[in-house]
């Protein structure tokens, strides 16, 4: 029996199975331990249905062994029979009220059923028994599903106190901070996550995008180079590389990277959107228009796509449709940039009154949202001033 266990732990499954066969021939009553080991081996080899039968046999042989029952529940979970799994876990829970494992897996079942609030309740109890990382990570994800970022962050910070060197946890919380807009803390956490597991593609992408936002293109590209070895066919990665190159004003390289990204991920509207922007930069307005229209087809609620499309159309001398595009953008949520660009376009086509209206909107937004990052962007300020000067004589 001991030998059998050793072989299992060494993952020497073939030999272990033959040994179990030999052993079950020698003993008269089947052993629940051997059945469990056999079940585990089958499960690891992907034969989940078979392993369920073995565990059920083992549980029937020794009803007092909660290990076998737990495995039955776990296997039911793997077979997507969540309700049965929860019932089985509840049986075990009645006998072992303070078992972290049971609660953790029960929570997983609830989460798989889509009942995140119940899952968080169960996990909170599990954590109060034993604060394990796995539960914490699941809890954070569940909070994020519920849209409760504050609780998620709180859990994350608590979890980090217990295990400060868990790369998965670090990168998860880093991304949470990124969503909240606390870029520096996010970068700190992602940096330490990268120090722990330097080849995790998702962390690299997140950290790289922060560097990119701060115009630190060379370092970001260095990071992406590491990621490219491990995930050479990731559209998101190529998209980010393309945008890095755009930041360095290498337009041709940017276009070819983005095209590669689009080839690999044709459903990603963001890539089409970015390609459109690059084509705008290279003054190829017709191509830009096509990419924006593709992007809008895939994601019709992104206001900036319509704005850029309007810019492309205006450059192509289709002023009427450009206005339609701008109107749509404003309707979907006109921020300062959209109004500013609309005003500029209107002004260049001698629609001074309408331009003034949008310029006023811009001023309004400046007053109401002085903290938004767009208010400090130098080019926006520049255009705003110029517009004010140009439109001023007419207003007199």
């Amino acid at each position: 029996m001991q030998r059998c266990y050793q072989l299992f732990v060494r993952q020497d499954f073939e030999e272990c199975l033959t040994l179990i066969e030999d052993l079950s021939g020698t003993i008269s009553v089947p052993s629940d331990f051997l059945l469990c080991i056999k079940g585990l081996i089958y499960r690891q080899q992907g034969e989940v249905q078979q392993s369920l039968q073995l565990f059920q046999q083992a549980a029937a042989l020794n009803p007092n062994s909660h290990d076998a029952t737990k495995q039955v529940a776990r296997t039911l979970h793997l077979l997507a029979r969540y309700q049965e799994a929860i019932e089985t876990y509840e049986e075990v829970e009645a006998a072992l009220p303070a078992d972290w494992e049971v609660l953790h897996h029960k929570g997983l079942c609830y989460a798989s059923l889509g009942d995140h609030s119940k899952a968080t309740d169960v996990w909170l109890r599990a954590i109060s028994i034993q604060p394990r990382d796995a539960t914490q990570v699941e809890l954070i994800k569940s909070y994020m599903q519920l849209g409760n970022t504050r609780e998620a962050l709180q859990t994350g910070v608590d979890a980090l106190e217990v295990s400060p060197e868990n790369g998965e946890l670090l990168s998860l919380i880093g991304m949470l901070y990124m969503q909240k807009g606390e870029v520096y803390r996010a970068f700190d956490l992602l940096g330490s996550a990268l120090a722990l597991c330097p080849r995790d593609t998702r962390t690299i992408l997140a950290a790289g995008s922060i560097m990119q936002d701060h115009s630190d293109y060379d370092v970001a590209l260095m990071k992406y180079r590491v990621a490219a070895v491990h995930a050479p066919n990731s559209p998101q990665l190529w998209n980010n590389i393309g945008m890095c190159l755009l930041g360095q004003q290498k337009y041709v390289a940017a276009i070819s990277c983005l095209k590669k990204a689009l080839y690999l991920g044709p459903f990603e509207w963001m890539i089409s959107h970015n390609l459109g922007i690059v084509h705008l930069c290279t003054q190829q307005f017709a191509s830009a228009f096509h990419y924006f229209s593709a992007s809008i087809n895939l994601n019709p609620v992104h206001a900036h796509s319509y704005m850029y499309m309007g810019m492309a159309l205006a450059k192509l001398d289709d002023f009427e449709n450009a206005c339609h595009a701008y109107d749509k953008a404003v309707q979907l949520g006109g921020d300062m940039l959209i109004h500013l660009n609309y005003a500029v376009t209107l002004y260049t086509h001698d629609e001074h009154d309408a331009a003034r209206q949008h310029a006023l909107q811009v001023e309004e937004l400046f007053k109401t949202h002085p903290e938004s990052p767009q208010c400090s962007e130098s080019r926006i300020l520049q255009h705003r001033e110029r517009l004010a000067v140009l439109l001023a004589p007419d207003s007199l």
Partner: protein
């Protein structure tokens, strides 16, 4: 006699034998044969007429067997020529993906579609390269059913490679109408072996018209003896007979000996063919390169080597050779097409566009070229041209090509974000070719985006049945099963995906995730 009246009418004052010879040189074989038949009826022992008729019959059925290389079901299933059962990485045509990583440098399977034998699609369809299932080749393709299937899903392969020849032969004999011309079994081959000119004509006749390599081999054996093993031609013919009989090692010996006597390009090509059949691509490459050094500017040798590189998945080396070929022969269709597809799949659609345009200028006008031109135009952002090209492709396409054109229309529809059009295009493609695996997979993806998971699954399953070698349907189905919580099926499916494309990172990730789930207590 049912012969046509024009052929019978020999103008007055003209020697009919001279006329027959003239017909032969002008490649008017039917007239030549009827004339000769008449002459032979009058005088059955006229050797000149006999010779002319033999030549005419041979040339009528002549095929360039240096190019044709398609293995029949029998060869595939009973293939015992492989030197090693488990060949070392990079030394076998059956396992093209095992070469040193980065040595080939070509695009990976994620970018360039694969054929059923696990190597990238080449730009030029030629017999034999598109599929080589092999008995020990790859898991999943080793079944008998797979061996019966041809290169593309839905096609089938001949039972034996001899089978194709035999069928050609019987058809031509029937049209002849006068029964058997030479009864080979009754000939005294030893007598003919003494007369070199007649014997050569006879040998070709037996090989190409009668398709009886065994008899031809006998003749060759007698003839080589009678010229003291000095004649390269007879040795090469002997090699050819052995090759057709499947005695590859003997064929190799004969070709080598023939090359020693006289260095001829054709013999080198046939020798390389023997090595390819023996699954020794590196030796074949050696033969090609050495012969190419002795015969500079010989395009067929370079092309042969390039094909082997393609088959070994060392695309970059192949591309270099194709470029050399174009230096010697600027209108070589195969080289242009292969270079074009290489550039297309390495993100240079503009350059590919130029190659395809060159093909068009040379007069290669078919649906495939227009289809590829359309794709290049689309990826090079020339939208107006792209649609025109596809319209032309539709005009020229036949039933098999049409499905591919519709499939590409669907791809473009996805490119411009018009998923409704894409869905319809893929549907049409599937309706034309119910085993179009790529279209089926994409339909599955579109259905799963819409949330119709059951429909998506059935599309994936159909795609899996149609093309076991493609990793996409397996991976997508695995992802679907994973999302539905069916981890057991997902695990099995992702294993299949990894068998088809071991370097697929997403599959690897899914596999690792599943293993973690299974191992968790």
């Amino acid at each position: 006699m049912e012969a046509s009246p024009q052929a019978n009418a020999v103008p007055a004052g003209l020697d009919p034998v001279w006329l027959a010879n003239s017909y032969l040189t002008r490649r008017k074989f039917d007239e030549c044969i009827t004339l000769c038949t008449d002459l032979l009826r009058a005088n059955p022992y006229d050797q000149a007429v006999w010779y002319i008729k033999t030549r005419a019959l041979t040339l009528q059925d002549w095929i360039d067997d240096i190019e044709v290389e398609e293995e029949g079901v029998a060869e595939v299933l009973l293939d015992e020529h492989a030197v090693a059962k488990a060949p070392r990485p990079g030394t076998s045509l059956a396992r093209p993906m095992t070469g040193a990583k980065g040595a080939g440098g070509g695009p990976s399977a994620a970018v360039r579609p694969m054929t059923s034998s696990g190597r990238p699609l080449t730009g030029f369809a030629r017999p034999g390269t598109s599929a080589r299932p092999g008995t020990s080749a790859r898991p999943g393709t080793s079944s008998v059913e797979a061996a019966f299937g041809g290169g593309r899903p839905g096609t089938s392969r001949p039972v034996t490679s001899g089978g194709r020849f035999v069928r050609l032969g019987t058809a031509s004999l029937n049209s002849d109408g006068s029964g058997v011309f030479i009864n080979v079994d009754k000939l005294d081959l030893r007598k003919y072996a003494g007369r070199p000119q007649l014997a050569r004509a006879l040998c070709n006749y037996i090989l190409y018209h009668e398709h009886n390599p065994k008899k031809a081999m006998e003749l060759c054996a007698h003839a080589t003896v009678s010229c003291n093993y000095k004649d390269w031609w007879w040795k090469a013919q002997l090699g050819k007979c052995y090759y057709q009989l499947g005695l590859l090692r003997d064929a190799e010996k004969q070709f080598l000996s023939s090359l020693k006597t006289c260095d001829i390009v054709t013999t080198s090509l046939e020798l390389a063919k023997v090595y390819i059949r023996l699954d020794q691509p590196n030796t074949a490459l050696e033969v090609y390169t050495q012969a190419a050094a002795r015969h500079p500017g010989e395009v067929s040798l370079l092309l042969g080597a390039a094909r082997v590189y393609d088959a070994l998945n060392e695309t970059v080396k192949g591309v270099e050779l194709y470029k050399q070929v174009l230096q010697y022969d600027a209108s070589n269709v195969e080289a242009i097409a292969c270079l074009a597809s290489f550039h297309f799949y390495t993100d240079q659609p503009e350059i590919a566009l130029r190659f395809y345009r060159r093909l068009l200028q040379m007069g290669v006008k078919n649906a495939e070229v227009y289809n590829n031109l359309g794709l290049c135009c689309f990826y090079a952002s020339q939208y107006d041209m792209a649609l025109d090209c596809f319209e032309k492709a539709f005009q020229l396409a036949d039933d098999t090509g049409m499905a591919d054109v519709w499939y590409n229309i669907g791809q473009i529809a996805i490119g411009i974000g018009d998923l409704g059009l894409a869905y319809q295009a893929f549907k049409v493609a599937v309706s034309m070719d119910s085993s179009h695996a790529e279209a089926l997979t994409n339909l599955g993806v579109l259905e799963s985006r819409k949330g119709n998971l059951a429909a998506a699954r059935s599309h994936y399953q159909a795609a899996q049945r149609a093309a076991e070698h493609a990793y996409e349907p397996w991976y997508n189905a695995a992802l679907l099963a994973m999302r539905e919580g069916n981890l057991e099926d997902s695990f099995k499916l992702v294993n299949k995906a990894l068998a088809a494309f071991p370097d697929h990172t997403d599959s690897q990730e899914l596999h690792a995730q599943l293993l973690k789930q299974f191992a968790a207590l």
